[in-house]
Symmetry: C2
Subunit: 269 residues, 2 copies
């Protein structure tokens, strides 16, 4: 599957048709990756000025601010005590083994890394996501650190990227669907290819499409890769209203089929 | 499985017994991760001095020097043109979903990142590892970059870590077994738990072990987690001679069983 999940904006990209306003914002997509928590690469600065990447297990606070538990003995802790400027790189988890990782979403959060006093809720949230940390959460040499996000670089895949301001990042909300896209897309393409073609032809402006593949899904709608006599097009169709969970996509997809059929009948197709 | 693959050196770690000299060097283990190629997090420096992590697909030259193909438009290329100091973070690939990533090996390579003229062999090696790069290898805005490694931080898991000098890194050779350890360890523990206990008792100095689990394997031998009446021990047993492939571990393991039985008989056990 060609993974064009967002508005492609690189040279040579196919035209994008349909409901362009319904593409999720990069701020929301960045929040989707961050709020899922998990493992990331923390970049800190060594005493001799090299950017130093290391593995961390993090979660995000309600406003998307990532925080983590680190040993005072770890290089990244020593580095951050000297120099707060840091970055956290997070890629989508659960990438299929055969996936082209460079075509998959990821995000880099830049800002200042500083120790903080984790509340009991912060601690519970962390241990729920990283239960193995129970073993060392009470060690005296472990401390809580959080990254105050100043700027965000979101990369959705080839040629799909932008900078997001820290305030916009904190104000956005994670998309409840996009982290579950793989399963939904596989289901649509394996079992409902006819629906995808209906969407492309009658709802997304690719009226002469001969085939369509779902390549993206989020709370606002589907992104389709449509084959047309004039070449491929990226075709976007919006749900009637945003869905609030991955589970709700099914009903929204069925509703889109009804709308597409009504439109087809009205168009005399 | 407790993942103690290397000499534990943190406080409170169990005693290590057996053939300690046979543990692989951290230089060789760093080369094993690097020479496998794959994806890593490149850390570069933004104009405002933040360390910036981004996804790259890399391979290693014969001396372990990592190199990669990058668009001139990418942030990391712009950053590296301004400031060569960079880092490449590489974690073991194909980690089981339920694994504790913080207990798994990873490496950070620090040095200077600079463009270079890739030879046809360099190019072939890269495209063999990353066939998807065929799509853009000839794009005019893509260039080859390599990281001249000045220092290496190897982290084998909790409390198992050291700095390795760039010269030692380049002089070391990758271990042909360690990247295949998961499958070998699962086989040993599932089907040959009796052999592991023989090793621990009669070859690795844990004579009163009541159970033993293989937790590490490399070209030089097995690392075992042995339960004894006095508490757990890490027990190391060396092969008769280093093996040259993962496949050769089987014969070496059988040979160790013979040696352990002979020793047991000689000891009157």
């Amino acid at each position: 599957v060609t993974d064009i999940r967002r508005t492609p904006n690189h040279q040579g990209a196919p035209p994008v048709v349909g409901d362009l306003a319904s593409f999720p914002s990069h701020a929301a997509l960045a929040r989707s990756l961050t709020d899922a928590g998990g493992h990331g690469t923390l970049s800190t600065l060594t005493p001799d000025g090299h950017p130093y990447g290391s593995l961390v297990a993090f979660v995000a606070a309600d406003d998307g601010t990532p925080y983590l538990l680190a040993s005072e003995l770890a290089e990244h802790s020593r580095n951050a005590h000297r120099e707060a400027r840091a970055g956290l790189f997070v890629a989508a988890a659960d990438v299929p083994d055969d996936a082209d990782r460079l075509a998959r979403p990821r995000v880099t959060l830049l800002g200042g890394l500083a120790p903080f006093d984790a509340s009991p809720d912060d601690r519970d949230r962390y241990l729920e996501r990283h239960p193995q940390a129970q073993r060392y959460v009470d060690f005296p040499d472990f401390s809580w650190w959080r990254l105050h996000v100043a700027r965000v670089r979101y990369v959705g895949g080839f040629g799909v990227m932008s900078w997001v301001d820290g305030h916009a990042f904190r104000a956005a909300t994670a998309d409840p669907v996009v982290n579950h896209a793989d399963g939904i897309l596989a289901h649509m393409n394996d079992d409902h290819a006819d629906a995808c073609l209906l969407y492309a032809r009658h709802l997304a402006g690719a009226g002469d499409a001969t085939a369509a593949t779902a390549v993206g899904v989020d709370r606002h709608g589907f992104t389709l890769w449509a084959e047309t006599p004039a070449g491929p097009q990226v075709a976007r169709v919006a749900f009637g209203e945003p869905v609030d969970s991955a589970r709700a996509v099914r009903a929204a997809a069925v509703d889109l089929v009804s709308r597409a059929r009504q439109r087809a009948a009205a168009d005399g197709a």
